[in-house]
């Protein structure tokens, strides 16, 4: 079996099956804590996958994706505060608001590139943070408890098992879609734009428009992860828009394997799992975690999935390294 097939199909499927088994194992062992723990990992995997679309496929280093997670959370908390528990309303508001904001942020940010793009996406996330903190009637800095969790006609995301199932299904669909997108016309053009925007423009495809579309989809999908998070925690807080959260999402994507299909899932799993393990050893776990991230940056960006895909087989040359972000 070729390593391409392994990393694109087998690995994600294996992971999803393993995730599906978790609730059964946890219930058998009478440790329900693990269901909510892994639910959190699923949610971050969704957010990381969404970022992967912009970052991995599109080459857009967005340091502000926490903004969308936060908006998604508030898309649940705000209507719930006013007594609206309808899940469809929450979802519609979430996708609509995040898509709109992503369109605005993207339109302005894509006028720049490189460092300026990173800075401006960071700035927008900060603006979102300050805006939410200023809303006193909605809790402000203290956050807003979710009065009524999303209910899709009787199927309520407030309980852990339905939430877990929903998150898993969303992740599975998203992963499948990302795999398909990778080789679909839009995805190929997008990845082309990342490698060399000038060429893409030259053949008649507008690189910037492609990137904007990708950014909007990425933002809206990331918002969905925020919606799920708000239901899991029954809480929405401005601290989920902190720039450190955006940074952690980037780390997850790169750690797993930037631009790959299974990468974000692996990245979220390893990042959050490692964090939990280290926390058990010492309260100063960041002294170990920080250098690990530095090491990861130094060693190479292929990530874990990239390493798996790169295993040299007899008689087959190694596939070339992903090109760096291109041009204009």
């Amino acid at each position: 079996m070729s390593s391409r097939l392994t990393s694109t199909v087998v690995l994600p499927v294996l992971l999803l099956v393993a995730f599906a088994a978790v609730p059964f194992v946890a219930t058998a062992l009478e440790q329900p804590f693990w269901i909510s723990f892994f639910a959190r990992i699923l949610i971050y995997a969704i957010a990381a996958s969404a970022l992967n679309l912009a970052l991995g496929y599109g080459g857009l280093v967005s340091f502000g994706h926490a903004l969308f997670m936060g908006l998604g959370s508030y898309a649940v908390a705000l209507p719930a505060f006013h007594g609206i528990a309808n899940g469809w309303v929450h979802l519609g508001l979430c996708v609509g608001a995040c898509g709109l904001v992503a369109w605005g942020v993207g339109a302005i940010s894509l006028r720049t590139s490189g460092m300026a793009f990173i800075m401006i996406t960071l700035a927008f996330a900060q603006m979102g943070y300050f805006a939410l903190v200023s809303l006193k009637q909605y809790g402000g800095d203290d956050g807003l408890p979710v009065a009524a969790t999303s209910s899709f006609g009787g199927f309520d995301l407030g309980s852990t098992l339905p939430l877990y199932a929903t998150a898993l299904v969303v992740l599975a669909l998203l992963t499948w879609w990302m795999a398909k997108l990778r080789v679909a016309p839009f995805g190929m053009a997008l990845r082309g734009a990342r490698q060399n925007a000038r060429r893409i423009n030259a053949i008649g495809l507008e690189a910037r428009r492609l990137q904007l579309v990708a950014f909007v989809i990425s933002g809206a999908t990331c918002g969905v992860s925020g919606l799920l998070l708000a239901n899991l925690n029954a809480f929405a807080s401005p601290s989920s828009l902190a720039w450190t959260v955006s940074g952690e999402l980037i780390v997850m994507v790169v750690l797993g394997g930037i631009g790959t299909v299974a990468g974000p899932i692996v990245g979220a799993l390893v990042f959050l799992g490692l964090e939990e393990v280290l926390k058990g050893w010492t309260e100063h776990w960041m002294v170990i975690f920080g250098p690990l991230i530095v090491l990861m940056a130094l060693v190479g960006r292929r990530g874990i999935v990239g390493l798996i895909a790169q295993r040299p087989k007899a008689g087959r040359p190694a596939t070339p390294v992903v090109a760096s972000e291109g041009g204009v």
């Binding site: 302005i108 990173i118 800075m119 002294v287 975690f289 991230i293």
Partner: protein, 306 residues
């Protein structure tokens, strides 16, 4: 608001801007010439602040404390450059972001591990502990000192960049790094030196800020983000741009914080104004940056590119 109050607030804005300039000057060169995104610049500022606090407590001499801060920041900066940063120049910005993000985590936790979570207390030096009478206001002498130091550094950096050979190499490097290397200049040494000077300035800023702000783990990040905004507004790679932008940001932020709530009270109900005013004021600087980037992406005072 009276004219004298406005003047005092302008001074406050100037002082804040000068502090930002100290940080922005080093950072913009690193960004512009080495094209390196250094999120750990705030950590170098923190190193300077801690070194100054400890040296001051041990020796009682503020001058010595400042020198210690600059030395410590220089040492740490050079160490980082040689060990990590120099390996990443050829990589793209994502790797820089990741590596320096990890470094920020490490530094914050290390500082907390060694010195604990208690903020360190740095006294204002006796000679600067008084106030100056200004139009009926008492303005702290220490803040005047900061303005003076900042202007000295600005003049010094102007002289360095525009009147010396090293400065010429720096300007050339900002316009075309590869060509400078091709001309036989030891670009590795130049880069290390630049990074070191940037670190030293950050350390100086940390030392000067110590008596004003609490010296504690994580003190670098809020300042870092504003510094990044300054650099983007000023134009990446341009020290002049950093100076003007820093002063603009300092004044806009300070005046915004005092004027916006007052303005809002004219147009909106008191409780709304009290909530929205400070929030808008915090967002003001970011709005300014977004505006600059939307209209003039290369910054307001960019380094002239060939």
């Amino acid at each position: 608001m009276s004219a004298s109050l406005l003047f005092v607030q302008l001074l406050n804005g100037l002082q804040y801007g000068v502090l930002l300039f100290l940080l922005a000057a080093g950072l913009t060169l690193v960004f512009g010439i080495m094209s390196f995104v250094n999120l750990a610049h705030g950590s170098l500022y923190m190193v300077g602040a801690y070194a100054a606090a400890l040296a001051y407590a041990a020796s009682g001499s503020f001058a010595l404390a400042v020198l210690a801060a600059m030395g410590a920041a220089l040492a740490v900066g050079l160490l980082l450059e040689v060990a990590i940063v120099s390996r990443l120049y050829r990589r793209d910005h994502l790797d820089h972001v990741l590596a320096t993000f990890g470094l920020v985590m490490l530094f914050n936790e290390l500082v907390r591990l060694v010195w604990g979570p208690q903020p360190l207390f740095v006294q204002v030096p006796e000679v600067l502990a008084g106030t100056v009478q200004l139009f009926g206001f008492n303005y702290p002498s220490y803040r005047f000192a900061i303005i003076a130091v900042g202007l000295l550094v600005a003049i010094g950096s102007y002289w360095l960049i525009n009147k010396t050979r090293v400065g010429m190499l720096i300007r050339a490097g900002a316009q075309n790094p590869q060509l400078v290397g091709a001309l036989g200049v030891n670009i590795g040494l130049l880069n290390a030196m630049l990074f070191g000077v940037g670190a030293m300035l950050a350390g100086l800023a940390g030392a000067m800020a110590g008596p004003l702000l609490s010296v504690q783990s994580g003190m670098g990040e809020p300042v870092l983000i504003t510094t990044l905004v300054v650099i983007v507004i000023g134009g990446i790679g341009s020290v002049n741009g950093a100076l003007y932008a820093a002063l603009i940001v300092g004044v806009v932020d300070t005046l915004g914080r005092v004027l916006l709530p007052l303005l809002m009270r004219q147009v909106a109900e008191r409780s709304v104004a009290d909530a929205a005013g400070p929030a808008l004021a915090s967002m003001l600087v970011y709005l300014l940056m977004a505006l600059v980037l939307a209209l003039r992406p290369q910054g307001l005072f960019p380094a002239r590119r060939g």
